[in-house]
C-alpha cells in the first residue's frame, strides 16, 4: 500500500471520529431522530443540500439549527415570507449614520466565503422568484451582484417547510427540489419513553437553550469539501454493486420493465419522470458516504437501502391521476423496487 493511500486511510479514520462526534452532538439535542440525523450527516459529507419536511412542531428548525451550530462556520438564517424578494437575500438599503442612503450586502453575501450554512426557514412561503435565485446558489454555489460573482465554496443550504399549511405557499418547482440532495421527512418519535422525555424533561422546553447547550463547531467546516472528495475516491464500488445501483434507478423510472406491481395502479403509466443524472449521481455519492460512516471500504446494498428514500422520493414524478395518494404510492413503489431487484 502506498504512503498516500495510508495517509488517506488515516485521515478518513480521523474524520470518521469527527463525523461520529457530529452525529452524537446533534442526537443529544434532538430526540428520536437518529436515522434522519444519520442521513443529514451523509448529506453533509456529500456536500449536498437538505430539505426538511414534516408536521408542525416536530423539531425541524431546531434540528437544522443544531446541525448548523455543530458544523461551525458562518451561519445565516432567513424566513420565507410572501413578500420576500430575491434582492432581499443579496443586499439591503438603509440610511447610514451620516444620514445618506446606503446599500449593504444582504444575508447571502455578507459572510463572504465563510458562509457555511444558509438556513431557509419555511421555504415554501417564499415566492418563485426567490426559489429561482436559490436554484443558482444551490447548483453553482455562487451569485452575481454588484457587477461581480460571489462564490461560497463551503455553502450548504438547509431548508424546511411544513406540509400541513398550504395557504399562501408556493410549491417548490421540480428543478429546485431536484437540487436538494435529500428531502427528509421528519415524524414525531413513536417510542413512549422518548415522548415522555420530550413532554416532561425541562431541557427540551426552550429550543434556544437546547441548541446553545450543544457543542459548537465540532468539525473544521472548511475541510469538508476535501474530505467529501476523498470519501468518494476511497470507497470502492464493485461491478456487482454498480449493476445493482443501476437497476434500482432503472426500476424507479420504469417499474413495468421489472414486473413491479402496485395494487390498483397501472405501473405502465405511473412514473412520468425523475431520478435523472443528478439524482442517480446523488444516490451513488450518498451510498459511498453511508458506507464510510459504517466504517466499510466498499458499498453494499444496505447503503443504497439506507439512503434511497431520502434521495429518490422527491425526484419521482408520477402521473397526476395518482396524485390523490401520491406519497403512499411512491413509498410503495420504492418498497417494491427494493424487494424486487436482487443482488447479485
Amino acid at each position: 500500500m502506498s504512503n498516500v493511500a495510508v495517509n488517506s486511510d488515516n485521515l478518513l479514520h480521523d474524520w470518521h471520529q469527527k463525523a461520529a462526534t457530529l452525529q452524537q452532538n446533534i442526537n443529544q439535542t434532538i430526540l428520536g431522530q437518529e436515522h434522519i440525523i444519520e442521513l443529514m450527516v451523509v448529506a453533509i459529507f456529500c456536500r449536498g443540500h437538505i430539505l426538511l419536511e414534516g408536521d408542525v412542531g416536530v423539531g425541524k428548525t431546531t434540528l437544522l439549527r443544531a446541525a448548523a451550530e455543530s458544523l461551525g462556520g458562518d451561519f445565516e438564517r432567513i424566513e420565507g415570507t410572501i413578500d420576500l424578494m430575491p434582492h432581499d437575500l443579496v443586499y439591503y438599503t438603509h440610511i447610514a449614520n451620516d444620514g445618506k442612503p446606503a446599500v449593504n450586502e444582504g444575508p447571502l453575501l455578507k459572510h463572504g466565503q465563510d458562509l457555511s450554512i444558509f438556513f431557509f426557514n419555511e421555504i415554501n412561503r417564499a415566492r418563485p422568484q426567490v426559489h429561482s435565485l436559490l436554484l443558482r446558489v444551490m447548483a453553482e454555489r455562487s451569485v452575481s451582484a454588484f457587477n461581480k460573482t460571489f462564490h461560497f465554496p463551503h455553502l450548504q443550504v438547509f431548508a424546511d417547510r411544513n406540509r400541513i399549511e398550504k395557504d399562501e405557499t408556493f410549491e417548490l418547482p421540480a428543478a429546485a427540489r431536484d437540487r436538494f440532495m435529500m428531502e427528509l421527512h421528519i415524524k414525531q418519535p413513536k417510542a413512549e419513553d422518548q415522548l415522555k422525555e420530550l413532554m416532561f424533561n425541562t431541557r427540551y422546553y426552550d429550543a434556544d437553550k437546547l441548541v446553545d447547550s450543544a457543542d459548537k463547531a465540532v468539525l473544521p467546516f472548511n475541510q469538508l469539501n476535501e474530505i467529501a472528495v476523498m470519501i468518494q475516491d476511497q470507497i470502492h464500488v464493485s461491478e456487482t454493486i454498480q449493476n445493482y445501483g443501476f437497476h434500482l434507478c432503472q426500476a424507479l423510472r420504469r417499474p413495468q420493465d421489472y414486473d413491479i406491481k402496485i395494487s390498483d395502479i397501472d405501473t405502465e403509466k405511473l412514473v412520468l419522470g425523475g431520478m435523472g443524472p443528478r439524482g442517480i449521481s446523488y444516490l451513488a455519492r450518498s451510498a459511498r458516504a453511508h458506507a464510510w460512516l459504517k466504517q466499510r471500504h466498499t458499498v453494499t446494498p444496505e447503503d443504497f437501502h439506507a439512503v434511497i428514500r431520502a434521495i429518490s422520493k422527491h425526484r419521482i414524478f408520477i402521473n397526476p391521476v395518482y396524485n390523490y395518494n401520491g406519497e403512499a404510492i411512491i413509498e410503495e413503489l420504492i418498497n417494491g423496487v427494493l424487494n424486487t431487484i436482487p443482488s447479485p
Binding site: H236, S238, E239, T240, I241, H297, T298, V299, T300, P301, E302, H305, L338, N339, T340, I341, P342, S343, P344
Partner: protein
C-alpha cells in the same frame, strides 16, 4: 320426263303452300307486341301463419326487351305497417332475348301481428316500374290475402294443463349432436402426444424436477455442478448467486444481509442456522462487493453444506405443516 316435270311443278306448289302456312302462323306472333305481366309466382301457404313468421314471395315478371326495371320502384326495406315488416326486396334479370326480358322479384316479409284468434290479413299490392327510353311500364303485384293463427295452445279436454307429468306443455326435443367420435380419438391422440413431448422437453431441461425440489435443493445441484469449475472466478460468483436466489425465493423478495435477522424471525425453523446464514452473507459481501476473488473448493463445500442443511430444514418444516 313429262311425269317428272309435272311432279316437280306439284312439289313446287306444295312447298309454296307450306311457306305461306308458316308465314301465316308466324307473322301474327312476330307482329304482336310482348305483353307485360306476371308469368310465374310463388307465394307460399296463406294460412296457419304465426306471429314472427317469415313470408317469402317470388314473382317472375315479363316486359318487352327494351324495358328495364327501375330499382327505386321496389319498396324499401322497413315497416310497411305496424305489424308488417319488409325485410328484403331483390330482383334479378333471369332471361332476355330480342323480344322480352324476364325479371325475378323476391320479397321477404315478416309479420308481427299477434292475433287472439284466426284473423284474415292482407299484404298490400306493390307496383314495380320499368322504363325504356321515353316510355314507362308498370306491373302491379296484387295484394295477398292470408290468415294468421294465434299462438295459443289447444288444450284438449281431459288433458291436464298444470305442471304435473301429464301437462300439455312439454320440453322441446334435444338437438341432435354431430357425431365426432372419430375426431375425438384423433384429438386425444394429438393432445397426449403434445403432453408427452412437453414432459420430455421439461425433463430434459430440468424444469420438471425444479418444481419438486426446494429452492435450496436446486441451489445445491447448481453449486455442485459449478464446483467442477471452481478455478473460474465466474463459477463462484454463479454459485453465490444460486444460493442468494434460493434465499430470495424462500423470503419471496430480494433478501439482503441487513434483513437476515427479520427473515430468521419469520422462519423460525432456520433459527439454529442463523450463524451459518450470516456467515454466508458476509462471505458473499466480501466476494461480490469488494474482492471478487475466485472461490476455493472449501468455499464451494461450505455452500453445499449450507444448501443441504437448509433444504433438510425446509423439507422438515413442510412435513410439519
Amino acid at each position: 320426263m313429262v311425269v317428272n316435270s309435272l311432279l316437280k311443278h306439284k312439289m313446287q306448289k306444295i312447298g309454296g303452300g307450306v311457306l305461306w302456312l308458316l308465314v301465316l302462323i308466324i307473322s301474327p306472333v312476330q307482329a304482336e307486341e310482348v305483353r307485360s305481366g306476371i308469368v310465374e309466382q310463388s307465394l307460399g301457404r296463406d294460412f296457419g301463419i304465426l306471429v314472427g313468421d317469415i313470408i317469402e314471395h317470388y314473382y317472375v315478371v315479363q316486359v318487352p326487351a327494351a324495358y328495364s326495371l327501375t330499382p327505386a320502384s321496389l319498396p324499401p326495406s322497413g315497416e310497411m305497417d305496424y305489424w308488417l315488416q319488409l325485410l328484403n326486396s331483390e330482383y334479378e334479370l333471369i332471361a332476355e332475348n330480342n323480344q322480352f326480358r324476364h325479371y325475378r322479384l323476391h320479397f321477404t316479409f315478416q309479420t308481427f301481428y299477434a292475433p287472439l284468434d284466426v284473423r284474415a290479413l292482407t299484404i298490400p299490392a306493390l307496383t314495380v316500374r320499368f322504363i325504356a327510353d321515353d316510355k314507362a311500364e308498370q306491373i302491379t303485384l296484387p295484394a295477398w290475402h292470408f290468415t294468421m293463427s294465434p299462438l295459443k295452445e289447444i288444450a284438449p279436454r281431459g288433458v291436464a294443463s298444470d305442471s304435473n307429468q301429464n301437462a300439455f306443455m312439454k320440453a322441446d326435443l334435444r338437438p341432435k349432436t354431430i357425431p365426432i367420435s372419430g375426431l375425438q380419438q384423433q384429438v386425444w391422440i394429438l393432445s397426449l402426444t403434445l403432453l408427452g413431448l412437453l414432459l420430455i422437453w421439461m425433463s430434459l431441461k430440468g424444469y420438471f424436477f425444479a418444481f419438486t425440489r426446494s429452492p435450496f435443493q436446486q441451489a445445491f445441484h447448481q453449486v455442485k455442478r459449478l464446483r467442477k469449475h471452481h478455478y473460474e472466478p465466474s463459477a463462484f460468483y454463479q454459485a453465490l448467486q444460486a444460493v442468494h436466489l434460493a434465499f430470495n425465493r424462500l423470503a419471496k423478495q430480494a433478501l439482503f444481509a441487513h434483513q437476515v435477522d427479520t427473515f430468521v424471525l419469520q422462519h423460525a425453523e432456520l433459527k439454529p442456522y442463523q450463524q451459518k446464514i450470516d456467515d454466508f452473507y458476509q462471505l458473499s459481501t466480501e466476494v461480490l462487493y469488494s474482492e471478487q476473488k475466485a472461490g476455493s473448493l472449501n468455499d464451494f463445500d461450505q455452500l453445499l453444506q449450507l444448501c443441504r442443511q437448509l433444504a433438510g430444514v425446509e423439507k422438515l418444516a413442510l412435513k410439519k405443516s
